[in-house]
């Protein structure tokens, strides 16, 4: 976590606490174990997408195809298992490898053909949605009753902490988040990714493999979207190819930006992204728990996100100002101008 993102992460954690406390005071069932379990599960699923988006955003890019990749993989998995009859490991491998391939194609189009990420992934958004729908002719997909073992990957709850059962996707998120965090903060690749996002020209002159790094970020993003699609599909067991995952790229981008990623690139923290995803899910949950009319849903989510962005900016300025005054005090007085 760089020094510029730390205040942002603290700000988003404070926002999460504030929304939770407010909702909990209005309806104490918010803190019921069953509700916390639901929220953990949803945050885990959307958090995976957010982490993927963060990788791309850190390079200064964007991925608008996340929701369609979720839809395609969520459609393809049950189709391969129930219609084609492929063994589970093969079907999973095809979905994840296929998602990675999608990311690779994005990466190559962006780095080798110099197409803009927005354009490439916007086309992806349309293409994968169309392919998913054509694959099953818009028929709703489900796993039936035979794949309960596989479904534990998403709905399984292996253990509990303080009466709150932890689902498998939460463990997957934890693993992915730790790994991503380590890669970003402790490896050459991670530091190079930040450097590239801050200044691609400088990164190239410094001899960093800019093209490969960028492509790798897109591969990571699409693979996580594919994994998310698998888990969403197993969780909900009712996949409508036309609507599954639509808008999820915006939730992922919102989580990443809330969590401290700058759309200009070069900034971001994994912890922040996961908390950002949690803020989004808690907001939707509060709207139902507080009995706020459905019509206001988007307005409230948008409003809170805006407040979050403003609060974040104010907090950052406050921290900067303190840092500045502290360093002024520590440094010898500057020579005064004649």
């Amino acid at each position: 976590m760089s020094s510029t993102t730390t205040p942002k992460v603290i700000a988003i954690i404070l926002l999460l606490i504030a929304i939770s406390a407010f909702t909990g005071m209005a309806n104490d069932r918010f803190f019921a174990p069953a509700n916390l379990e639901n929220l953990l599960q949803r945050t885990s699923l959307f958090g995976l997408l957010g982490i993927g988006a963060a990788f791309v955003i850190i390079t200064g890019g964007i991925d608008l195809s996340i929701g369609s990749v979720v839809g395609l993989s969520a459609t393809a998995l049950p189709w391969m298992l129930t219609e084609v009859g492929l063994p589970i490991p093969v079907a999973l491998l095809i979905v994840l490898a296929g998602s990675a391939l999608i990311g690779l194609i994005h990466g190559l189009l962006i780095t080798r053909f110099s197409l803009q990420p927005f354009v490439v992934t916007l086309c992806g958004l349309l293409i994968y949605r169309g392919l998913g729908r054509q694959l099953v002719l818009d028929q709703t997909q489900s796993f039936g009753q035979e794949f309960d073992g596989l479904r534990t990957l998403s709905i399984g709850r292996p253990f509990a902490i303080a009466g709150v059962q932890i689902s498998t996707p939460s463990l997957i998120l934890l693993g992915v988040a730790l790994l991503s965090g380590l890669v970003l903060s402790r490896t050459v690749y991670g530091r190079a990714l930040f450097a590239l996002g801050r200044n691609p020209e400088a990164a190239r002159f410094a001899g960093l493999p800019v093209k490969r790094l960028t492509a790798a970020a897109y591969v990571g993003c699409s693979t996580l979207a594919g994994l998310g699609g698998v888990l969403f599909a197993l969780d909900i067991n009712s996949i409508q190819p036309v609507s599954m995952g639509s808008f999820y790229e915006l939730y992922a981008i919102a989580a990443a930006v809330l969590g401290g990623c700058s759309l200009r690139g070069g900034e971001g923290s994994i912890l922040g992204v996961v908390v950002g995803a949690a803020v989004m899910r808690v907001l939707y949950n509060s709207i139902v728990l507080l009995g706020i009319p459905s019509q206001l849903e988007f307005a409230i989510v948008g409003g809170v996100l805006l407040i979050g962005a403003l609060f974040d900016e104010a907090f950052r300025r406050f921290v900067d100002a303190r840092r500045l005054s502290r360093s002024r005090r520590a440094a010898p007085p500057a020579p005064s101008a004649p």
Binding site: A34, N35, N38, D138, F232, I236, S238, Q240, V242, S294
Partner: protein, 305 residues
Amino acid sequence: MAVVSNCVDPFWNVCAAGARAKADELGIEVEVVFPDGSAQDQKQKLEDLRIRGVDGIAVSALDASGLNDVLNAIAAEMPLITQDSDAPGSDRVCFIGVDNYAAGRVVGKLVKEACPDGGKVAIFIGRLEQQNSRDRRQGVIDELLDRDFDSSRFDEVGSVPKGGKYEVIGTLVDNSDQSQAKASAEDTLTAHPDLACMVGLFAYNPPNCLEAARSAGKLGEVKIVGFDEDDVTLEGIEAGTIYATVSQNPYEYGSESVRVLNALCDGDKSVIPAGGVITVPSEAVRKDNVVAFRKALEERRQGDQ
């Protein structure tokens, strides 16, 4: 009590009005929740309502079987009924709705009235995943082809069922995207200048068919038969630009849902008929009864304000 819709549409506002009027009459509280049309969002909202602890839920299931886990979890804690679109394999206590296959056959009869000489018919529909929309479409096709009553039949979307005087040239699915619905209607008119009748089976389809016919300069020439009671549809019937529509009476869905849930909460199981299905009759609206129908609808909506 909570009534959960399957998307956002004026249809559900009428349902909400019925639910609120009944709740006022019984002196209870009801909330109407509108998911965005995806099963994921409906599942989340149902889970959240269960946590919040309402006394009973009436839901229009977005998937006939896939949501059974969450539905059964709710049914274990409180009375759960389905309305509009059923989930027959779940533990729901009963289903309230029209028989969509029968309602589709009524639409087919209206097409026959509108185009007694036969011809090409195109069907416009929002989605085909839900059982209710599949049944509704099949009812139209079976009636036009004079087949016997069998709601389990299903003509593939790409097929061109033909029989007697009528030919169903296609079913255009717009995925509840209104601009796509209008484009489909326009393109069909372009591709088939001799189209006799457009059948719009989701609430917003008839208005889109009407717009397409207007811009193609074919008002009155191509007949339109609709479904549900969108204001534009009713105005069209009054003006004579739309032949007729079939109302499935969403007001009754809302009102009946609240009545049945309230009785179930009081431990009164006598409201549930054998078979667990409460059928709400559908109603054909033509030029001769549209004024009275609109007036009644308007009064009900105002009762909600």
